[in-house]
């Protein structure tokens, strides 16, 4: 397929003013994942087939309703990249046999939550990257099994309360570094994104459109329902995730990791944590200074190691 991006994104004003993704989806009000998807879809365009592992976004297409202009395939949690392989192969065969005109070629886009990406679907994803499958993978990471009531996942951050980590210290584990795991496969592209930084997101989509092979995106997806905050704060919390350094925006191309938006003066992690009910126990009734200091130290240590990149 002809890989090119028709638009160039230099400033917010360049963001698409018409939206391709249909309204009327059952995603929660203020969904940070939907915000990423709609921006991404605006740029990728109609010639896309979405392969969706079970998760919140499965509800996007509930018969007879769909927000997409094109195809959508539903798979089990672990097998979305395998589904993408099937769609890619089928399209390639049709193109080869000239049963599908070249201009009707499609981009295959996997959409899964963090439950599938960080856990159950990791093996199928690894296999797809081994085979250099030409596809895009979007993981909307709301740091838990959001669709079933926010049980912890391998993406849950340290100390967050989930419905399966209700103790006074929250989740004892640490968020898995999926970016590095994916990058270790040396795919064409890996990036972290967030809808609260639309320009950074748009530039990355623009870039990956010119590439072939596995192109992997992890979008932190602020989740009013699972993280327990007022829906109107979704963008604010997303922006703070970047400004505090909790969610580094970066990309991996040809063996190199580059940070695309380095916070000049990182805000304290408190600013990000205190807006969310899932971290409220760190501030009330007593301030758990030790836990907050640990979270801050991990963020500082990350940036100390990556200062030059």
């Amino acid at each position: 397929m002809i890989k090119q991006s028709p638009v160039h994104f230099h400033r917010m004003k360049d963001m698409p003013s018409t939206h391709l993704l249909g309204t009327g989806t059952p995603m929660c009000a203020g969904c940070g994942g939907l915000e990423t998807l709609h921006t991404m879809y605006d740029i990728l365009g109609r010639k896309t087939v979405f392969v969706n592992a079970a998760g919140c976004m499965t509800l996007l297409s509930v018969y007879p309703f769909t927000p997409f202009h094109g195809g959508w395939l539903y798979t089990s949690m672990a097998s979305a990249p395998a589904g993408a392989q099937g769609v890619r192969d089928a399209v390639d065969i049709l193109l080869q046999k000239q049963k599908l005109p070249a201009e009707e070629d499609v981009e295959v886009v996997v959409v899964t939550g963090d439950g599938a990406a960080y856990g159950m679907g990791m093996s199928a994803t690894s296999g797809a990257m081994d085979r250099k499958l030409d596809f895009i993978y979007l993981c909307y990471d709301n740091e838990g099994y959001g669709n079933t009531g926010q049980q912890y996942s391998a993406a849950t951050p340290h100390a967050a309360l989930t419905s399966t980590s209700k103790g006074s210290h929250g989740y004892p584990g640490y968020k898995k570094d999926l970016f590095s795991i994916w990058a270790a496969h040396n795919p064409a592209y890996v990036a972290t994104v967030i809808a609260a930084e639309p320009l950074d997101l748009a530039k990355k989509i623009e870039k990956l459109q010119t590439m072939t092979g596995p192109r992997m995106l992890i979008s932190l997806a602020p989740c009013p329902t699972g993280w327990d905050y007022e829906p109107e704060l979704s963008v604010e919390i997303g922006r703070l995730a970047v400004q505090t350094g909790v969610w580094p925006l970066k990309e991996y191309v040809e063996g190199e990791v580059r940070h695309t938006k380095v916070p000049k003066q990182r805000k304290p992690v408190d600013d990000y944590l205190k807006l969310q009910g899932r971290f409220k126990h760190l501030f009330e009734p007593h301030c758990d200074e030790q836990a907050i200091a640990e979270i801050q130290a991990r963020v500082d240590s990350y940036w100390d190691k990556n200062a030059a990149k």
Partner: protein, 311 residues
């Protein structure tokens, strides 16, 4: 058997209300079923939970289609067909509506023989999805209306179900629930038990019988795109964002991009326009608008204003 349905919006705690009432019944010596309807529950979206309680084993299953008592935490749900609030109500049913309008107004509006009572909680609350303590109040009112649950047992059940919360929050819930229970005691027994349903009494719903068809006919392949716009998610909204155009600086790419649902269009003149059919009322646009030109107003007030403008 008591058959009780709670209707509310996602976030109001109707599941908690049904659990408190169910536990209170159980402690009183009843066999109990209590369950929320499991589905894609979302904040602001209509949800319901139900309780069945009987002195002998309960063989009924599933959704309550002929309730003895219907508790409605938010009166804006009554007009939403998807909420199913009025489903199966008749002269035997008691409706308890949280509303500023009077019981007789509701009786007329619904053209029903059902007995109606009102609960007026949250007169000063703008966002009706966040009415404070509404789950405890609804549970307390329902318990009192049955006339079989004592004050002491009710409070025991409430404290047990809210055990995971902070003590001061439990105390607040208890105090408010108790005053609701006491206020409702004059109506004790108004929620009457319905008779046992037997299979032979079963009346088929008023459905249209369709012949069995193959999947190709009964489950049509839909090739049209973007059919989701037929779903009016605007009904979820409890707060409405309103653009104050004189203050709008026309940077529509901001609100239009940040709106998670893509429910803000950019008009040909460059100004944004909110699609109220689909806007879920998350208010991200209100928070992000650089010149603060979008304000939020309670949906029920916005609707009253619309009615005023058209008449």
């Amino acid at each position: 058997m008591f058959r009780i349905r709670f209707h509310g919006r996602g976030g109001q705690g109707m599941k908690t209300a049904s659990r408190i009432l169910g536990t209170a019944f159980f402690k009183t010596g009843y066999e109990v079923q209590d369950a929320p309807r499991y589905g894609a529950e979302r904040r602001g979206a209509p949800i319901f939970a139900y309780v069945r309680a009987d002195k002998s084993a309960i063989n009924e299953r599933g959704i309550i289609s002929h309730p003895d008592l219907v508790v409605i935490a938010d009166d804006t749900l009554v007009g939403m067909p998807a909420a199913g609030v009025t489903q199966g109500i008749d002269a035997h049913t008691l409706l308890l509506i949280n509303s500023h309008d009077s019981a007789s107004t509701w009786q007329q509006r619904l053209n029903t023989e059902a007995n109606v009572l009102t609960l007026s909680a949250g007169e000063d609350v703008a966002d009706r999805a966040t009415l404070p303590f509404i789950s405890s109040r609804c549970a307390a009112a329902a318990a009192a209306l049955t006339g079989v649950i004592t004050r002491e047992i009710f409070i025991e059940a409430l404290c047990e179900e809210l055990d995971h919360l902070r003590q001061d929050i439990i105390d607040q819930n208890r105090d408010i629930a108790l005053s609701e229970f006491d206020d409702m005691t004059v109506n004790a027994g108004l929620a009457k038990q319905g008779g046992l349903a037997t299979a032979s009494d079963y009346v088929k719903p008023d459905w249209i019988a369709l012949p069995f068809e193959s999947a190709q006919i009964s489950n049509l392949a839909i090739h049209a795109g973007v059919t989701s716009v037929k779903v009016r998610t605007g009904l979820w909204r409890t707060m409405r964002p309103v653009i104050n155009y004189p203050n709008c600086s026309g940077c529509a790419w901001i609100c239009s991009t940040y709106c998670p649902d893509g429910a803000i269009k950019v008009r040909t003149d460059g100004y944004p326009e909110i699609d109220y059919e689909h806007c879920k009322g998350c208010l991200v646009c209100v928070a992000q608008c650089p010149p603060h030109a979008i304000e939020s107003i309670p949906e029920h007030i916005a609707r009253d204003q619309e009615v005023g403008e058209t008449t």
